[in-house]
Symmetry: C2
Subunit: 199 residues, 2 copies
């Protein structure tokens, strides 16, 4: 009917979770937005994609060479939380419970998807620790097979720092989860690592 | 953390049905797309928004002054299907059951939202009919209060063409709908307008 419409719908539906119907709905909605407003959106996306950098210290997303977290003097530089990806940093920051630094691996070891340890920013992590000052590394990996593999691999690489404290985030039943629907591994782990109830 | 990221997320989340979480997921996904690919998407959106036209005859979306449907010589020019919006044309075209022309009103009469008959392309419809050649007008409005109001208003305006056949799309129980969950008005109408079963 319209190649302009078809092009916009086809391009938008390349995004994950955006099917043709949703892409069409979004595209038609843009007709009700000011042209200026649409252009501001596309410009923000273009600027993000072309100008975004990765922090030279922690591999987090950054507008400058070193990210705002790494350059913040109020953060505790003796603790480094290792995460798989940028989204994990945002999730942990949203809790406002963590004041240390991060290290973004940029993925997980996955032989299935052809991602080797050398594809992740593991060497950079070791270099940072070698420079001194880091007392604890918190490993905050997903509880997937790939996450556990990555956890195991990094733990082994960190063995050469005998004074370094290496911790794993707690595994167990999440808040809001029902025992009935939790898998056996999680339940077994949660039972084994039970904590005393204060009374 | 990053103004570039924040800007892109904020702009994307202006779209309907795209919350902050989804906008963040989409934005981070764009990092895994080629910069070229992202730019092709934003360019398609910008081109659509700035270059799209409305057909001078039927008010449908069009890349040129007259849309591909109105300028297609194989379409039956004696039937005009009146719809609320562009998406309706696409839905009807997808059925491949209709070979006439369309007329896109660009909305429905809605005193609540301040949309008066003069805000819709109703005069253009009457002008087209006055030019001659149209034998039937199919009114394909939604079964909302606004849709019914618009239907009623247009029917009255069309009264000055006594030879014109004016029809309404069939109302009834949709395919895949269960009687139990249909509203009383629909059931009553479907009962009243029952059709003979061929046997």
């Amino acid at each position: 009917m319209s190649e302009l419409l078809d092009d916009a719908v086809r391009e938008l539906s390349r995004l994950p979770g955006i099917g043709r119907r949703t892409a069409l709905r979004l595209t038609l909605h843009m007709l009700r937005m000011d042209e200026e407003e649409v252009r501001r959106m596309t410009a923000a996306i273009d600027r993000f994609r072309s100008d975004i950098k990765y922090c030279a210290r922690c591999n987090n997303l950054s507008d400058s060479d070193v990210c705002t977290i790494c350059s913040d003097p109020s953060r505790d530089r003796s603790v480094v939380c290792v995460v798989e990806q940028v989204g994990d940093v945002l999730s942990i920051e949203n809790t406002r419970q963590y004041n240390g630094l991060y290290h973004v691996l940029g993925g997980v070891i996955s032989p299935m998807q052809g991602i080797a340890p050398s594809d992740l920013k593991i060497d950079l992590l070791l270099e940072n620790i070698e420079k001194g000052g880091v007392k604890e590394v918190i490993l905050a990996m997903s509880t997937t097979v790939e996450g556990e593999t990555t956890l195991f691999y990094i733990t082994r690489r960190l063995a050469r720092f005998p004074d370094l404290k290496v911790t794993n985030i707690a595994r167990g039943i999440g808040f809001g989860d029902e025992i009935e629907y939790a898998d056996e591994l999680t339940i077994a782990h949660a039972l084994h690592n039970r904590t005393p109830v204060s009374r």
